[in-house]
């Protein structure tokens, strides 16, 4: 029986995970476009404006613009149910973050990442289909770029005709042109989405690796009718329409049923993304309160040895991290967002409170990047301030040019329609960024003992509300048990000692008795 068991235990034959092999086969076949857009006559023209390209698109894809105009990529907000608030529209139009704070009053620049043309400060015609920017997502030539601070219009260098003839399914370049650069630079915001993913190896991301499956973003974030699957909880709040690992891998992807059972409470990402920002650094902290320092009346920047800005006059000071170990939180897919005008009721202020706890059946442990910092707020009204940051000329009230907080605050708040008292300060804020990308090869997955440990640096050392074997134990029981165990060892040792002593004495006595009798007989 033991031989049988030992054979079983010691055998380490590697099985093929057929589920995984099947997925790999499916994704190894890359779709080939059924049409060549360069052959269409309507696209073989010199386009004067990008809107003309959109019109050309719509002339064949007659209803697609309607789908686009229903998407959050277009509207910059979603209607969702937020616990404690009810049904609200939330999104880039009314949330605040602790990076560049918010798009309001800065649209001229921020619209670089809007899928439309002509979004200038507080003006955009959301009903005009001509303003839909098809190319930013569908350009396959990698030649299309939006201009800096051009209200969402393409850069002047772009050859529209060339781009229009080379459209197709979105690639990583298209999605990445915005999603890799959130927060004003590569990998600043997410930490797990960055330019390195355009050409990385499997150690960085098994899905997108050039030497791996080389999957595109849309392989998981499918876009039926232009509604992207998946959402980010800095701008979203409800537990619907999410992109999950399980949608391909099922929730029983492992051979070991015990590991499968973990999925009841532990997200796939928690174990399979041991670290993020694997190639380039990501921002971990941003202190606006230190911004505005000038050298000889001029703004300046300070870089660290890696070339990351650690101080810029326009934005303040930063902290960066590479190969960062995620923090872990309970999350049930719903979040509360700080919306413009909300009262500051906690310190530090959490801008996107992820809901969840162990006892909530929907909650799982997820890895997050925690971004902290401080930012401007109204001391009297006790609300965060949306400052006007971007401007085109001196005297615009834009902080990035004038370095005058009161003016920037006043201009920004005026535009969002909120009061500004004239008294401002800086309040600490926190944001949670769920980490979902940069999935590591399976042999790099987080090991059991990294969580199941009594060490204070265990990955789940900070999570409470549940019993984690290996980390938790009943202290009185352990104390009593260990005491009893050693007491019983002590007890039997004492007992044994007495027995030995007694038997030695007895032997001596018996010998004495015999001697005594012998003496008597003599």
């Amino acid at each position: 029986m033991f031989a049988l068991v030992l054979t079983n235990l010691l055998q380490s034959e590697d099985y093929y995970n057929l589920k995984l092999e099947k997925l790999k086969q499916e994704h190894a076949i890359k779709p080939i476009s059924s049409v060549d857009h360069s052959k269409f006559e309507i696209l073989q023209q010199e386009f004067d404006t990008p809107q003309d390209v959109t019109e050309a698109c719509i002339s064949c894809h007659t209803e697609r613009h309607r789908e686009v105009m229903h998407s959050s990529h277009w509207n910059w907000e979603r209607i969702s149910y937020i616990e404690g608030r009810g049904i609200e529209a939330s999104g880039k139009s009314n949330v605040i973050n602790n990076f560049c704070i918010g798009a309001q009053s800065n649209e001229q620049a921020c619209a670089k990442c809007h899928i439309g043309f002509g979004m200038s400060n507080n003006h955009f015609d959301f009903e005009n289909a001509r303003n839909v920017d098809c190319m930013v997502c569908h350009d396959n030539s990698e030649a299309y770029i939006k201009g800096a601070a051009t209200a969402g219009y393409p850069d002047r260098s772009v050859n529209l005709s060339q781009v229009a003839q080379h459209v197709g399914q979105p690639t990583k370049h298209n999605c990445g042109s915005c999603h890799f650069n959130g927060g004003g630079g590569n990998n600043v915001k997410h930490g797990d989405l960055e330019q390195a993913l355009l050409g990385c190896d499997r150690n960085v991301d098994v899905h997108m690796a050039s030497n791996g499956m080389d999957m595109s973003c849309t392989a998981c974030h499918t876009a039926e009718n232009h509604q992207m699957l998946g959402k980010l909880y800095s701008v979203s709040s409800d537990n619907t329409h999410r992109a999950t690992c399980e949608q391909c891998h099922t929730n029983t992807p492992h051979f070991d049923p015990i590991i499968n059972r973990h999925n009841a409470k532990v997200s796939c990402q928690a174990c399979h993304i041991p670290e993020y920002a694997k190639v380039n650094a990501t921002k971990m902290a941003w202190y606006w309160s230190e911004s505005g320092k000038l050298k000889d009346g001029e703004p300046y920047t300070v870089d660290d040895e890696m070339g990351n800005h650690i101080y810029t006059s326009i934005k303040g000071s930063f902290k960066w991290a590479t190969n960062a170990k995620p923090d872990y939180m309970w999350f049930n897919g719903t979040a509360n967002l700080y919306l413009l005008g909300d009262t500051i009721d906690e310190h530090p202020l959490i801008l996107n409170n992820l809901h969840g706890s162990h006892d909530d059946g929907e909650s799982k442990i997820i890895p997050v990047k925690i971004h902290v910092g401080d930012q401007i707020y109204d001391k009297v009204h006790n609300i965060l301030i949306q400052p006007k940051l971007h401007g085109t000329q001196k005297g615009d009230s834009a902080f990035w040019i004038d370095f005058d907080w009161p003016k920037a605050a006043e201009a920004g708040m005026k535009q969002v329609g909120l009061p500004y008292s004239g008294e401002y300060g800086f309040v600490e804020t926190v944001m949670y960024w769920p980490v979902n990308h940069m999935v590591a090869p399976k042999d790099q997955a987080v090991g059991c003992a990294e969580c199941h440990t009594r060490n204070n640096d265990g990955r789940l050392a900070q999570l409470s509300g549940f019993y984690l074997p290996g980390r938790d134990y009943n202290k009185p029981l352990d104390f009593a048990g260990i005491f009893l165990f050693f007491a019983s060892i002590g007890g039997v040792l004492i007992h044994a000692a007495i027995r030995i002593l007694v038997s030695i004495k007895k032997k001596r006595y018996e010998m004495n008795v015999i001697d005594y009798e012998n003496e008597q007989q003599i």
């Binding site: 033991f2 003992a449 290996g470 029981l477 165990f485 007895k506």
Partner: protein, 222 residues
């Protein structure tokens, strides 16, 4: 002295396999518990699970064996001579007194052993095994691939399992030590290995003539 066949083949197999499994489960279990690190959590947890299934199968066979052979009657508790037995271990054996009860194939267990082993079988093992099974299936995946989570908090399950484990360790220490209190320090262990034990052949010992002694005597005479 005479050699008596006390422990049957299955009984010895059961005893030693159970002993090995319990020691192995203790090592791996306390590693999972976080008390020390030998194999690494992952291996400890996996081997603990494998060994626990083996123990469960063994226990099922043992229960079957006890009922089929009628050996379960050995564990019927009695207070008769219980006090004497305790006094013997506490004082008597130091004074060179004889065991107050006689061992034979039909009464292998003295009154104290009966009580302790019955507690072992009816309390200690069930508490540990049942809490262990609950521990193991605490989160299960059902046939429809949905996860069913037990409503019983793991904390409580872990408490009982750990309690059982500590008590089993105390049992192990005392039990191993008590094997040395036979005719010679190793005679009990030898008996559990070979099945045969040299038992004292004392017809003249009138203080401890029990029913079994009579049977022994009869057998001898026969």
């Amino acid at each position: 002295m005479k050699k008596v066949y006390i422990y049957k083949g299955f009984e010895r197999f059961w005893h030693w396999t159970q002993a090995a499994l319990i020691i192995f489960l203790a090592l791996t279990g306390f590693e999972v518990h976080g008390s020390f690190s030998i194999l690494g959590f992952e291996h400890a947890a996996r081997y603990h699970r494998v060994a626990s299934w083996m123990l469960i199968v063994l226990i099922i066979f043992a229960i079957f064996w006890h009922f089929v052979t009628g050996e379960w009657k050995q564990y019927i508790p009695t207070t008769k001579k219980l006090k004497e037995q305790i006094l013997f271990y506490a004082f008597g054996m130091f004074k060179g007194q004889k065991h107050p009860t006689k061992k034979s194939g039909l009464t292998k267990l003295n009154p104290l052993q009966r009580l302790v082993y019955l507690g072992f079988k009816l309390f200690l093992v069930p508490v540990t095994v049942i809490s262990g099974i609950l521990y193991m299936v605490h989160k299960t995946v059902d046939k429809n691939d949905t996860v069913v989570i037990s409503d019983i908090p793991l904390e409580g399950i872990a408490f009982w399992h750990t309690l059982g484990a500590f008590l089993l360790m105390v049992f192990l220490v005392v039990h191993v030590y008590m094997t040395t209190t036979g005719h010679t320090p190793t005679s009990n262990i030898q008996a559990m290995i070979t099945g045969y034990e040299e038992l004292e052949d004392d017809d003249e010992d009138t203080t401890s003539v029990t029913k079994t002694n009579k049977i022994d005597n009869n057998e001898k005479k026969g």
